[in-house]
């Protein structure tokens, strides 16, 4: 599972032959971001959201960017709004029990037919200067169909899942 996430962010446009280079040049997009400056993104790494994130109706195209080498943190950066990026993480990093069931509507929307063709990421809220107080939004995870490069934020059952789940406290309890 974790190795699959690497595929989400890995840059595959290296060490190509010159002809392939030329072809792939055409498939690269320049993306303006407020946090990371101007970035180049392979067109086939763009994730199309089937619904916008609540509160951000202007962004439907995103890509995943690793925060740093070997870091479990990733950025889900908008291509449509330079300011918009979420810190996301694979929930298995801190909570092995978090395996929410997806309903039929979500499965149909994203073309998910088995347990292996999708990836769940959770959005982290990290208070400025207080990273240890970070919380994970377990109520509204991001579900991705990795092969189709589509995804969306899904609302789960509020009686079961916490939108402000303290990550570090839980980590310590293990």
């Amino acid at each position: 599972m974790l190795s699959r996430a690497k595929n989400l962010t890995r840059d595959e446009n290296v060490n190509e032959t010159s002809t392939q280079d030329a072809r792939q040049q055409e498939e690269l997009l320049w993306v303006e971001t407020s946090r990371f400056g101007r970035l180049q993104v392979a067109a086939d790494k763009v994730i199309a959201m089937t619904a916008p994130f609540l509160g951000f109706p202007g962004s439907l195209r995103f890509f995943l960017k690793p925060h740093a080498e070997d870091s479990p943190f990733m950025w889900l950066q908008s291509l449509d709004e330079p300011d918009l990026a979420f810190v996301v993480i694979q929930p298995a990093v801190f909570n092995a029990e978090y395996r929410p069931q997806l309903n039929a509507a979500v499965r149909a929307d994203l073309g998910i037919s088995s347990e292996s063709d999708h990836e769940i990421l959770v959005i982290l809220t990290i208070p400025r200067g207080k990273p240890r107080e970070m919380t994970a939004n377990l109520l509204g995870p991001v579900v991705l169909n990795v092969a189709r490069r589509v995804g969306r934020q899904v609302l789960l059952d509020p009686a079961v899942y916490d939108p402000c789940w303290p990550v570090i406290a839980a980590e310590k309890q293990k």
């Binding site: 974790l2 407020s34 946090r35 990371f36 994130f53 609540l54 509160g55 951000f56 925060h67 740093a68 070997d70 870091s71 479990p72 943190f73 300011d83 918009l84 990026a85 979420f86 810190v87 990093v93 801190f94 309903n103 039929a104 509507a105 149909a108 929307d109 959005i123 982290l124 809220t125 990290i126 400025r128 200067g129 990273p131 240890r132 970070m134 939004n137 109520l139 509204g140 934020q153 609302l155 509020p158 939108p163 402000c164 570090i168 980590e171 293990k174």
Partner: protein
């Protein structure tokens, strides 16, 4: 906004396949029964507001994530390689 008066047991139909029925009215609270197809998400409004607020807070993270390294303790997070 369309405003309709309904009694207990009566319903409102939306787009042919959604029904919102008044089940009970007691002490200033109305209980509603909602029938909708699977692809229609039905939640209390507060849930959408809660997620909207949380998304807005999450989107304020600074790009450098100062202090994030080693936040899971020495040796990093329990990542299986």
């Amino acid at each position: 906004m369309l405003i309709l008066a309904r009694k207990i047991g009566e319903a409102i139909a939306i787009a042919g396949d959604i029904k919102v029925r008044v089940i009970d009215i007691k002490g200033g609270q109305v209980r509603l029964g909602i029938e909708a197809p699977d692809h229609v998400a039905v939640h209390r409004e507060e849930i959408y507001q809660r997620i909207t607020e949380e998304n807005r807070r999450a989107a304020e993270a600074p790009g450098d994530l100062a202090g994030i390294d080693g936040v899971f303790g020495k040796g990093g997070p329990p990542v299986k390689k």
